[in-house]
Every structure is written in structure tokens, then in C-alpha cells.
């Protein structure tokens, strides 16, 4: 698995041959595609809710309560949220796997389950599991047949995609012998077999090693560069930050916010961590008297400068009293912070949350 395997194959691997509804490869962005569809978004949900009735007593579990999303054509969109937020459930509703209890959902301007929309769609389920008696190549050929592709073309695409995701050497291996990361890759390959216009990926980066993560991230970015719409879920903010133009945050089954990334996670610096090596005793005294939380780690001292305070003052202190400035790291808001902030401040104060998705009820209600 060389990371170089990913790059050259992408352009040539899948062309919309024999795809009646395919859109030309390399189309730069949403513009013309959106026009041909009457400007409909790639995905849209409005106040989507799903309540499962489980078991004999039909015990109610509210998986999602109020999810409103709008994904434009040609963008890479992140669906962010902690475990159990309802990301998978939302995507399952959109894929027609479960019926919503209420609310609206549309895929490529068509109702959920529409065959034309399904033909232009690629989906990678969460921790995917496939027919384990098939080889990777057989799975891809089988899936291609479900799109009505002719045999020859199915095989061609299967081989090209296996190469693209770095699995060419495992092509003839039964899927039951695949590792988790390999399953994730073959899952991605099967989601791309029809050269979809819209690619929906549920946690595409989970279960991968650092190299694998990088490769799949590159692949997603390339899909975006080719004008595809990509929607992916994650609970890791940095993945979304690296890839997506826009995102929505789900907490407790509600979209608590959505929009451009810099809108969601403010560039706001929560605190700055300053590492000082071998500080002079005078400096230590000055620190002890000051308002900073300082902590000694061996020879070095870690000082946390809270939000709104001038880091420069501390730097001046170090300069004046002696000590080596090792590092100065701003700690930005993380997803956890955003989620915690969103889950706790109920009325949305301090954040521009334009979604109608919020109401005054506490989360646990």
C-alpha cells in the first residue's frame, strides 16, 4: 500500500461510461450540476425525527429528534457529533434504510429511495461488513452489476478502484480475511463503483492507521476537487476541518448548528500553553504570585494563560528573569468544547445559531 497508488489512478479509474445519468468527470463544481437539477441541494432534511420502537413492548428510543440539513452540490460536508448523536441514523434515513417518524428528507432533489437518485449515489456504511465469502474483486463486480453495468465495464471499474484504494494485492482474497482497515477501503471502493455524484460516507476514517487515514483523506479531497458532493460523518473535528467546507453539528439527535467551518468552530483561542525550560528562580516566584496556573514537569514549567489575557506579558517575564521559551501553543476550541458549549448553553447565547432546530427544552427531555 503505497500512498502514491492513490494519486494517478483517480482521474482514470472511473469514468461515467454507460451511466445514463452520470455527470461528466472533472466538472469543477456545483454550478452547472445544480442548474440541471433546478438548483436543488444534494441532500436536504427538515426537522427529521426517528423514534425506534424496540422489542416486544415497543419501547421507544428517540434516535434523532430534529435534524435539519442542507448540503449543496459540489461541496464536502461534514456531519459532526459525539457518539450517539444520531449521525448514523440520519444517514440511514437518507439512504432509505429506515423510515423517518416525521420530517422531510430529499436526496439529489428526489424523495428518499428514488431509484434514479440511488443510481447516482455512493454509500459507505459505518464499520462496514460485506459478504465475507466473496473476494474483494467479486464484491465490486457484484455491486457494479446492481447498477446495471455490463460485465466488462464492471470488471474494469473493480480493478481500477481496487488499485485506487490500494487493495490490488488483496483483490483475490476472501473478505473474511480482510483487516478492519482493508474492509474500510473496499467499502469506499464499492461506494465509488458507479462514479456517484453524491458520496455519503459514515465514519470513513475510523479504523484506519495514520497512513490509511491520510490516503482516504486525500481520496475524499480528490472527489471534492472533481466536483462530487461528499458528505461524511465523524466525531473528530480535525478531520472535518481538514476536508470540509461546511458542516453540521449534531448533539442529542438535533442539529445544533450548521454552516461554514469557521463559523462553527470559532478561531477563538481558549487558552495558550507556554512551556518554559529551566526557568530562573526569580521567574518561578513571579509566576507563583501571578494569576497563571503553573505546573512543573521535570525541568520545564507549563503555564496556561487563559483566554483574553496577554501572552506577551508572560513572554516579557521570561525574557526579563531568565529561562528558555520552549513552546507557545494556542489551545483552540475543540469539538468537545463546541459540543459541551452547545449542549449546555441552551438558548444559544454567544453563538450565531440560525437554525430553527433548537428549542428551549433541555437535552435530556
Amino acid at each position: 500500500m503505497h500512498s502514491s497508488a492513490l494519486q494517478p489512478a483517480v482521474q482514470s479509474a472511473v469514468q461515467p461510461v454507460g451511466q445514463p445519468v452520470g455527470q461528466p468527470v472533472g466538472q469543477p463544481a456545483a454550478g452547472s450540476a445544480a442548474e440541471s437539477e433546478g438548483g436543488t441541494p444534494a441532500l436536504r432534511t427538515h426537522q427529521l425525527a426517528k423514534t425506534y420502537a424496540l422489542g416486544f413492548f415497543r419501547k421507544k428510543v428517540r434516535a434523532i429528534r430534529d435534524v435539519s440539513l442542507r448540503v449543496e452540490r459540489g461541496e464536502i460536508f461534514g456531519l459532526l457529533g459525539p457518539n450517539g448523536a444520531g449521525k448514523t441514523t440520519t444517514l440511514k434515513v437518507l439512504m432509505g434504510l429506515v423510515r423517518p417518524t416525521s420530517g422531510e428528507a430529499e436526496v439529489l432533489g428526489r424523495p428518499v429511495g428514488d431509484l434514479v437518485a440511488k443510481g447516482r449515489l455512493g454509500y459507505l456504511p459505518e464499520s462496514p461488513y460485506f459478504y465475507d465469502y466473496l473476494t474483494g474483486r467479486e464484491l465490486l463486480v457484484f455491486v457494479a452489476e446492481l447498477f446495471g453495468l455490463p460485465r466488462r465495464e464492471s470488471r474494469r471499474r473493480a480493478d481500477a478502484l481496487l488499485e485506487q484504494v490500494g487493495l490490488q494485492r488483496a483483490a483475490q482474497l476472501a473478505l473474511r480475511r480482510y483487516s478492519k482497515g482493508m474492509l474500510q477501503r473496499v467499502g469506499l471502493a464499492q461506494a465509488l463503483i458507479n462514479d456517484p455524484e453524491l458520496v455519503v460516507l459514515d465514519e470513513p476514517l475510523s479504523g484506519l492507521d495514520p497512513i490509511g487515514r491520510k490516503q482516504i483523506r486525500e481520496l475524499i479531497a480528490q472527489l471534492g476537487a472533481r466536483g462530487k458532493t461528499v458528505v461524511f460523518s465523524s466525531h473528530i473535528l480535525s478531520d472535518v476541518e481538514l476536508l470540509a467546507q461546511r458542516a453540521a453539528i449534531l448533539v442529542g439527535g438535533r442539529t445544533v448548528d450548521s454552516g461554514a467551518l469557521d463559523h462553527l468552530v470559532q478561531a477563538r483561542i481558549l487558552s495558550t500553553e507556554v512551556l518554559i525550560d529551566r526557568p530562573a528562580p526569580v521567574l518561578l516566584q513571579a509566576l507563583a504570585g501571578g494569576a497563571y496556573a503553573a505546573e512543573a514537569v521535570g525541568e520545564t514549567v507549563r503555564v496556561v494563560v487563559p483566554e483574553g489575557e496577554d501572552v506577551g506579558r508572560l513572554v516579557d517575564l521570561v525574557r526579563r528573569h531568565g529561562g528558555a521559551l520552549l513552546a507557545l501553543t494556542p489551545r483552540r476550541e475543540s469539538l468537545e468544547d463546541v459540543v459541551v458549549r452547545r449542549a449546555t448553553d441552551d438558548n444559544g447565547a454567544g453563538a450565531a445559531a440560525p437554525l430553527p432546530a433548537r428549542d428551549a427544552q433541555p437535552m435530556g427531555a
Partner: protein, 262 residues
């Protein structure tokens, strides 16, 4: 549309690769051992015994396999979450159910053909003349197996494999006793029960159409080895099976289409 056949072939491939055909070995061993035992018991009757018990055994064996595979057919896809990959593809849910059913039907057909091969070989070795009536018998056995498969798939489209298995076996047993149920209903002279019995006899498939051994035709007990039915009868039985299959599979497809795949 090549999508349903693609799903069917994949189902068939799964059965083959999961070594379903190994059950054939078991069948072959049983048949051969039994025929040797008959040979030792009664020299003249051995061909008749092998034929009767061989085909009855084949039928029972296939019904068992059909039930087992049928109730797991859809369930396994749900449990292993392979439906998550399959159903977002441009197929209808009913195509999925149909594809799975035909895939299993193909598996059972291949198994039936191989079992017939074993049985006919043993008969041949016993010096029996192979009657063309046996082909009709085999056709009837297969029709019955198809009906049982559809019933199993129907139950499993909304229920767990264990319950579906029990229901299917129940329907099978009732189905084979439809004439008896009717007879009992006719004899009873209370108001409620006969109505219920007639209702049951109406809903379950009348499997006696397919399982003719031991039935009374024209006042005579028939055995498999006899020539008792003609192709016209097989045609009628096929029509009945097709109708029953259509109804049960339509119900299964409707139920599956509404279901949440979780």
C-alpha cells in the same frame, strides 16, 4: 433487469461456498447404508423400499434444508448488515427478496438434482428399471420444497429465525394433513372448532397435492413406486404451487418493504 438474477446468483454462490452441498454426502451415506440393509432384509422388496424410502427421505431432507436456509435467508443479511451495502444501490426492496428467494430455489434445485443422481445410481445398482414416473415424483417434491421455502421466507420477513422455523415446520405439518383436518372438521358437530379447522385448512398450503405417497387416489393407497399420476396432474399441482408462491412472496415483499433495517 439483471439485478434480481445478480442477487440470486450471489445467494447461490454463498450457499455453495458455505458448503451447503456437503449435506449431500450425508444423504448419500444414509441412502447407501439403508439400501444395503434392505437388501439384507428382503431380497425381492429392496427396489421398492429403496424407491419409497429414498424419495421420502429426499423430500424430508430438502424440506428441512429449505426451512433452515429459508428462515435465515433475509435475517442473516440484516444481522450481518450486508443490507446496508445492498439496499442503497438502485434496487427495489422487493427485488432483494425475490433475488434471495430464487437464489435459494436454485441452490435447492441443484441439491435435488445431485440427490436424485445418488438415488438413481443406487437403484440402478440394485438392478431396478428406472420408470419415467419418477420424474413426475421429483417434480412434485421440488414444488413442495419451493412452497415451504416461500413460507419460511415469509415468516422470516418479520420474525426471528427461531420463531420462523417453528412456524414453518408447523405450516408444513398442517399442510401435509389438510385432508385429515378437513375430515376431522366434518365429523365434529360443535359450532366453533370446525370453522377454525376449515380456516386453517384453507390458509396453509395443501401439501398433499405434492406428497402423494400413502394418499388415496381413486380409493387406492398409492406408493411412490407405482405409476399413479400423469403430467396433467403435475401441471395442475404446478399451477397451485405457483399461485401459493405468488401470494406468499408478495406478502413477504410487502412486509419487507415496510421494515426498518436496523
Amino acid at each position: 433487469m439483471m439485478k434480481t438474477p445478480a442477487i440470486a446468483l450471489n445467494t447461490f454462490r454463498e450457499a455453495i461456498r458455505n458448503k451447503v452441498l456437503y449435506s449431500l454426502l450425508f444423504f448419500a451415506v444414509v441412502v447407501i447404508v439403508a439400501s444395503l440393509a434392505f437388501g439384507a432384509l428382503s431380497v425381492h422388496e429392496e427396489v421398492r423400499l429403496t424407491t419409497d424410502l429414498g424419495f421420502a427421505g429426499m423430500s424430508a431432507f430438502l424440506v428441512l434444508i429449505a426451512t433452515f436456509l429459508g428462515v435465515n435467508l433475509v435475517y442473516k443479511e440484516l444481522e450481518r448488515k450486508t443490507v446496508y451495502t445492498l439496499l442503497p444501490k438502485p434496487i427495489h426492496r422487493y427485488q432483494f427478496v425475490l433475488g434471495k428467494f430464487f437464489g435459494l430455489a436454485l441452490t435447492l434445485l441443484v441439491l435435488l438434482a445431485l440427490m436424485c443422481g445418488v438415488l438413481l445410481l443406487v437403484l440402478h445398482l440394485q438392478g431396478a428399471a428406472l420408470e419415467p414416473a419418477l420424474a413426475m415424483l421429483v417434480a412434485l417434491i421440488f414444488l413442495e420444497v419451493l412452497v415451504v421455502t416461500a413460507v419460511a421466507v415469509f415468516f422470516s420477513s418479520f420474525s426471528t429465525p427461531l420463531l420462523s422455523g417453528l412456524f414453518t415446520v408447523g405450516v408444513f405439518l398442517l399442510g401435509r394433513s389438510v385432508p385429515d383436518i378437513r375430515a376431522v372438521a366434518a365429523k365434529l358437530d360443535q359450532p366453533g372448532l370446525p370453522l377454525l379447522l376449515r380456516g386453517v385448512a384453507r390458509v396453509v398450503p395443501n401439501l398433499r397435492y405434492f406428497y402423494v405417497t400413502g394418499a388415496e387416489i381413486d380409493g387406492q393407497q398409492v406408493a411412490i413406486s407405482g405409476t399413479f399420476v400423469d403430467w396433467g396432474y403435475v401441471g395442475l399441482a404446478s399451477g397451485y404451487a405457483a399461485l401459493y408462491l405468488a401470494v406468499v412472496l408478495l406478502l413477504a415483499m410487502a412486509l419487507f418493504s415496510r421494515r426498518d433495517l436496523i
